[in-house]
């Protein structure tokens, strides 16, 4: 195949962010004219970064981008648009109080003869013309805030087309759509393909990919896992390439001796603002002395579950109890007083106060306790002493307890969070992605601590998108898919990547009886 058949060629792309994270390493990505090309991979695999570079939102550290046979430097979205590249973002770039037609022409407004006023009629005409030509029905006069999500997406696609895009990047376009809307979108995309447009489709939904794409590129851990003809590769093979483990780190652990139920979640339900059911009658128990892992592709309800358990959100129905006491809707102070601690997924927002010192962050959950107060003033000596001890015990690398937490490395910040959350005699530890994006040393340390605490009698709920982690650490494991439990494994020893992948991507679903094993109470 000659180079001329490619409309986009990205060669040897490497992207290293200023904080040292390499999001892409030597990625080759080629798209042929007039195809629908899927870019697949788990969250964090580097597909978004790659596409941001193609749309000019980020610039590659190394490598070159060739569009229509011409080497280009895409320094901004404006440049990318001028090269015929358009992007439909997952979070719509629309102004809610403006009409569809106004959003369409924003930045390229048609004027009346006097050059002073907007020719709104012309804007409506342009919208209608494009709407008709591409079979993307929208109401030009409706305000964007009043139209359904599916139509918003059409406006986004039309916005790219009206600006002359010939190559369209669609970032998980079906994530916010209902089944019918998805079917409609696919028809429209195929229609666009027939008219000679090239589409890049970011997704991790196997059925969709199989349905509409011609070829696919799979990414994992910032690298390309190869290009395939969609027709020639099985869903199982795709899932293996997407979620396979790279390095296996093992943690020594004794057999768990679980006893009483600590956390009991029953029939929890939640529908989000886009009418998508994020939690669907979710029920499970976590017992004293065990680690229950929750695996799954991100966006299948894990975050919503954790939010509910720490009162960052309220479910539509169901219950959650810790040692028989309700925790839903209770203040965090009260939840913490019951012995529940949280390692939050977003450590910079929910885990620490970046401008505070290490000591202040370590003491933040307990500063009101008697131990650290003398009359109306703090007992600073007690605070200093215990902070120093925690810094030592949890091997936080720092100059002193007075150092600002935000200035530490990711791994050390997480150690500060963990030191605080693990040192308050927790009854239940909720660990949400506890080792994401931190170095190997800190990862190993945190994992060992987690196992240690569970063996000392804490109940641990481990939510992780890292297969290696969730399989190695968990005693039992559930896999979430579409807000439901797709599978429950009492013993994680029987698991391997292939089995996990099939449940995570919705190819398989256990029976109600099999899943029922996760309820241990009466």
């Amino acid at each position: 195949m000659s180079d001329n058949d490619y409309v986009v060629q990205m060669k040897g792309i490497t992207k290293v962010y200023p904080n040292g994270i390499a999001a892409n390493q030597g990625v080759d990505f080629n798209v042929m004219r007039g195809e629908i090309h899927a870019l697949m991979g788990e969250n964090g695999a580097g597909k978004s970064t790659l596409m941001k570079m193609l749309f000019g939102l980020e610039q590659p550290t190394e490598g070159e981008i060739i569009v229509n046979g011409e080497k280009v430097s895409l320094s901004s979205p404006t440049v990318a648009i001028s090269k015929g590249i358009g992007m439909v973002h997952q979070h719509f770039m629309l102004v809610p109080s403006l009409t569809v037609a106004e959003n369409m022409v924003l930045g390229m407004e048609p004027k009346q003869g006097n050059k002073l006023f907007i020719n709104y009629k012309k804007a409506v005409e342009i919208t209608e013309e494009f709407s008709k030509r591409y079979n993307l029905f929208v109401d030009p006069h409706a305000k964007v805030r009043d139209i359904p999500v599916g139509m918003k997406q059409k406006v986004e696609i039309l916005k790219a087309l009206v600006r002359g895009a010939k190559i369209l990047i669609l970032d998980e376009p079906t994530a916010v759509l209902t089944t019918q809307e998805t079917e409609e979108l696919f028809k429209e995309l195929i229609h666009l393909k027939e008219q000679g447009y090239t589409l890049i489709f970011i997704s991790h939904k196997l059925n969709e990919i199989k349905q509409i794409t011609d070829r696919l590129t799979i990414m994992r851990g910032g690298k390309s896992m190869g290009v395939h003809e969609t027709a020639d590769i099985s869903k199982e093979e795709i899932s293996r390439l997407m979620v396979g483990r790279d390095v296996v780190l093992t943690v020594e652990k004794e057999q768990a001796q679980p006893t009483d139920v600590v956390l009991s979640v029953h029939n929890m339900e939640y529908t989000n603002e886009w009418n998508k059911k994020m939690l669907d009658k979710l029920s499970f128990d976590v017992r004293k002395g065990e680690i229950l892992g929750i695996a799954g592709v991100e966006g299948n309800g894990q975050r919503e579950l954790v939010d509910m358990l720490f009162n960052l959100n309220i479910p539509d129905g169901g219950s959650a109890k810790v040692n028989g006491k309700n925790i839903l809707g209770r203040p965090q102070r009260e939840i913490r007083d019951m012995g529940v601690t949280l390692i939050p997924e977003d450590r910079m927002t929910f885990g620490i106060a970046g401008a505070g010192t290490i000591e202040e962050n370590l003491m933040s959950d307990r500063a009101a306790s008697k131990k650290y107060n003398k009359g109306i003033l703090f007992n600073l000596n007690a605070m200093h002493e215990d902070s120093d001890q925690l810094i030592k015990d949890y091997r936080v690398l720092c100059k002193s307890r007075k150092q600002q937490v935000g200035m530490l490395s990711g791994g050390n910040i997480q150690k500060v969070v963990v030191a605080r959350e693990f040192s308050s005699d927790p009854v239940l530890i909720i660990a949400d992605q506890p080792t994401r994006g931190i170095d190997v040393g800190a990862t190993e340390f945190i994992r060992k601590k987690l196992v240690e605490l569970s063996r000392e009698g804490a109940a641990v709920l481990l939510v992780s998108a890292d297969l290696n982690e969730v399989m190695e650490l968990s005693d039992s494991l559930i896999i979430m898919y579409n807000g439901k439990i797709a599978a429950y494994f009492e013993d994680t020893a029987v698991l391997n990547d292939t089995i996990m992948g099939e449940y995570m991507l919705g190819l398989k679903q256990q029976s109600i009886e099999e899943i029922g094993g996760v309820i241990h109470g009466e």
Binding site: I81, V95, L98, G107, K111, F117, K159
Partner: protein
């Protein structure tokens, strides 16, 4: 006593006062509307008005022309707003701090400037000549209609400009490309950015327009309302205007109605002061009580907005 009050409220001269008192607030409220639409809180209105008020008088005095005075005040308003814009938009100072700095400058700097330029201390009453004041306009035909004529005719030329500007600002915001961009930038910067609309440039322009409008409000104060410049001439109207913008839902017509409400409260306070049976101290507080009520309504709106935002965020 109440009969007296009712008679007073329904008198033509009371209607005239409302319009007279509302005008400067209306200029500033429109200034607040334009800035707010672009996503910038112009908290420096008070300072801009004070400084413009001084320069209006100075330019008029130097040229003996009220027209040049008004143009000068407008230009100075734009200039001060641009200084604020450089600090807030380019150098990324908190806009509230930049605004407070401008307000403090308006309070103290003007006295210094006045002394520097004229040697006068604290007010310009001794400089005033009739040529420096904006003229009253009697509207033909209208002025001869009983009551209506007394209320709506015979105001300063600037008053008519203020009410005309309600329409012009509305046209700017809703009928021009610039207005579309201002609204887009104020509501979703990413959306504007993604189609190549410069957020920075748009906000600069919005603040410049805001400064010009506040400058006109300042000119009205010193070149008509007070007939000269003095310390504390603006007396909180810049802040009342922010409340009027908020109460008016950030729309030009809404801001006009709110300004008239504040004008009504002020006029009421002024008239009641001279009447038997009302504590003059209590009466003097009426406009400010109305302002506080306005701000409470604004705060409730904001809380609702934050809530909605949070709900969306979920």
């Amino acid at each position: 006593m109440f009969n007296q009050l009712i008679d007073m409220i329904f008198s033509a001269s009371f209607g005239y006062s409302i319009i007279r008192i509302s005008s400067p607030i209306l200029f500033a409220a429109l200034a607040a509307v334009v800035a707010e639409k672009a996503g910038v809180v112009n908290i420096g209105l008070e300072g801009i008005m004070t400084i413009s008020a001084l320069f209006g008088v100075l330019f008029a005095y130097w040229t003996n022309s009220w027209i040049i005075g008004v143009i000068g005040a407008t230009a100075v308003g734009v200039l001060i707003a641009m200084i604020m814009a450089v600090f807030a938009l380019k150098l990324k100072t908190d806009i509230i701090l930049a605004g407070i700095a401008i307000n403090l400058l308006g309070g103290g700097g003007t006295v210094f400037l006045l002394f520097l330029f004229t040697g006068l201390k604290g007010n310009t009453a001794s400089m005033t000549t009739p040529y420096m004041l904006t003229p009253k306009v009697n509207i033909p035909l209208l002025k001869d209609i009983p009551v209506i004529g007394q209320i709506f005719s015979g105001h300063s030329a600037l008053t008519y400009l203020a009410f005309l500007l309600v329409i012009l600002v509305w046209i700017l915001l809703y009928k021009t490309a610039m207005g579309l961009r201002i609204r887009a930038v104020g509501e979703n910067q990413n959306a504007a950015d993604s189609v190549g609309v410069s957020v920075l440039k748009t906000q600069y322009i919005a603040l410049a327009i805001s400064g010009a409008l506040a400058g006109l409000g300042g000119a009205y104060m010193s070149m008509y309302y007070s007939q000269s410049w003095n310390i504390g001439i603006v007396a909180g109207r810049g802040f009342i205007a922010l409340a009027a913008q908020a109460m008016g839902q950030g729309e030009p017509v809404g801001a006009m109605l709110s300004s008239l409400l504040f004008g009504f409260a002020s006029a009421l306070g002024n008239k009641m002061e001279g009447m038997q049976g009302f504590s003059s101290y209590l009466v003097a507080s009426i406009p400010y009580v109305v302002t506080i009520i306005g701000l409470v309504i604004y705060a409730m709106g904001t809380i609702k907005k934050v809530k909605r935002f949070k709900d969306n965020d979920k």
